[in-house]
């Protein structure tokens, strides 16, 4: 094992220790009743309840709804983001005009538009998907543009030498060269789509995991609320870790520039 690998493994062990220590501390505080059960249940009870909740199938409909909406919003954000970025890459003036929008976009609370969308479109799936799309699409555009900017000029010349058509040049050269940055965009779009759907379900909705959490909160039902929160944290952490790994693999394969 190389020294850097060994160091990475050691860091991972420390990370688990920090996490495990935090959970153990919570467990101790809960068991000793420093934190009373009305505020929080002990971690081992949360895990048990999560297992029961998933096995009972009570949450299947909510989970399916949240996942469907997230995937729809993600698909929209990624495809629209790619197309818009490809267009903007060729239209310098348009891109300059939109630059202030991109620079300040994430400073504006997109969720503030949620009540407006509810009043206009009704309390259904559409406002949630719109919010999740709006959150994700700009990250996708900005990162794809960043990737396209970094396609080496020599590749573009090669495309001309080989007389590739625009579609071939895009698929065989630009896409692989910009790949790692596009994956960064996808990673952010996944996180934002998830945040958008769960968040809007949580604020006001008629179903989904976020709705179930807020419903359980309003009914002081900690046996449902905490397991669902843990479920969401696990799902988003795993998705993020998988995409980060993919991003690194692509970056390593492409080679640093």
């Amino acid at each position: 094992m190389s020294p850097s690998r060994a160091r990475a493994a050691r860091l991972a062990v420390y990370r688990f220790a920090v996490l495990g220590g935090a959970v153990a501390l919570l467990e101790a505080l809960c068991v000793l009743r420093v934190i009373d059960p009305i505020t929080m249940q002990a971690p081992h009870l949360i895990v048990r309840d999560l297992w029961r909740l998933l096995a009972s199938g009570r949450m299947n409909a909510a989970i399916a709804k949240t996942l469907t909406n997230t995937v729809l919003a993600l698909g929209l954000a990624v495809s629209v983001g790619l197309v818009v970025a490809a267009l903007l890459h060729r239209r310098r003036a348009l891109r300059d005009t939109l630059d202030p929008l991109f620079a300040t976009y994430y400073a504006v609370p997109v969720f503030a538009f949620y009540p407006f969308f509810i009043v206009v479109f009704g309390l259904g799936d559409l406002p949630q998907i719109l919010i999740a799309f709006m959150l994700g699409v700009v990250a996708m555009i900005v990162n794809t543009l960043n990737g396209l900017d970094r396609v080496p000029v020599v590749l573009l010349k090669t495309a001309r030498v080989l007389r590739l058509g625009p579609a071939d040049a895009a698929l065989r050269l630009a896409l692989p060269a910009a790949g790692p940055y596009i994956v960064t965009g996808i990673k952010l779009a996944v996180a934002y789509a998830f945040i958008g759907i769960i968040g809007s379900e949580f604020i006001l909705s008629r179903g989904g995991v976020g709705y179930e959490i807020s419903f359980a909160y309003n009914n002081f039902d900690n046996a449902v609320m905490y397991p669902l929160i843990v479920l969401i944290l696990l799902a988003s952490t795993i998705a993020n870790a998988v995409l980060t790994r993919w991003e690194r693999t692509l970056l390593a394969r492409r080679g640093a520039t």
Partner: protein, 247 residues
């Protein structure tokens, strides 16, 4: 890009967005959208209303406390993690992960811990704002040019002196970027908290607008929030770019 150029693009963008809004209004009509002019008119009466000041005060107080706490603890944690290589390497990826989770789901826990009130709102704002401040400070401290640190060592500076005279000045531009992002996220956090559960504040005004089906109120408050967040962000971005250029 020059400032004048950026200003022109910004103004053009605002004009295009306003025109788009008006065009959509003509398309869908009064029932679905209130026009830009009507929204401005309603905003004027809303701002003049007696209770409006109290709502703004409530939001801004929670936001200000949250941002102050985020800055103080974010800088402290950032300098610590930046200095101490091992802690930084262990904890930084964990912070990045927390950055990407839907933090809104954690709000009920804060509500149970702090009770429904200003402290839960503040805690939620801090949860959003502190992470970017930590991350940017860590990277700022680590990217300080080694020659500067060697100079400090040669002068036998103590750790606090090192921070005060070497690391902090060298790291200011990047730390400022962290503060800029932290400012926006703290604002988002405070507003989200109000939208989920509160009795006062701008987020509360937004949500009651839905119940009353008061479209002009919803649009006016949204407009106010967006204009405020965007203008502050533009200002901070401008300072940010100047700091980076000066270095």
């Amino acid at each position: 890009m020059s400032d004048a150029h950026g200003l022109r693009n910004g103004l053009l963008l605002v004009a295009v967005l306003a025109a788009l809004w008006q065009a959509v209004y003509w398309l869908v009509g009064d029932s679905a959208l209130s026009s830009p002019l009507d929204t401005l008119r309603y905003t004027a009466t809303l701002v003049a209303r007696d209770d409006f000041g109290a709502h703004v005060y409530d939001t801004m107080r929670a936001f200000a406390i949250a941002f102050a706490l985020s800055v103080v603890f974010g800088l402290l944690a950032g300098f610590w993690l930046g200095f101490d290589r091992l802690s930084g390497d262990v904890l930084e990826p964990m912070l990045v992960t927390v950055y990407a989770i839907p933090k809104l789901t954690l709000y009920p826990i804060l509500l149970l811990a702090f009770g429904l009130g200003v402290s839960a709102k503040v805690a939620f704002g801090v949860l959003h704002g502190i992470i970017p401040i930590i991350l940017f400070t860590v990277s700022a401290v680590r990217n300080t040019r080694p020659i500067l640190i060697k100079t400090g060592r040669a002068m036998k500076l103590s750790r606090p002196q090192m921070v005060r005279w070497i690391l902090f000045p060298a790291a200011v531009p990047e730390i400022f970027t962290g503060l800029r992002v932290g400012f926006s996220l703290t604002l988002i956090g405070s507003l989200l908290a109000e939208m989920f559960a509160s009795q006062r504040g701008l987020g509360y005004l937004l949500m009651t607008g839905i119940g009353l089906h008061n479209l002009p109120q919803v649009m006016s408050v949204t407009l106010l929030i967006v204009v405020f967040a965007a203008s502050v962000s533009v200002l901070l971005l401008w300072i940010d770019r100047r700091l980076h250029r000066r270095r």
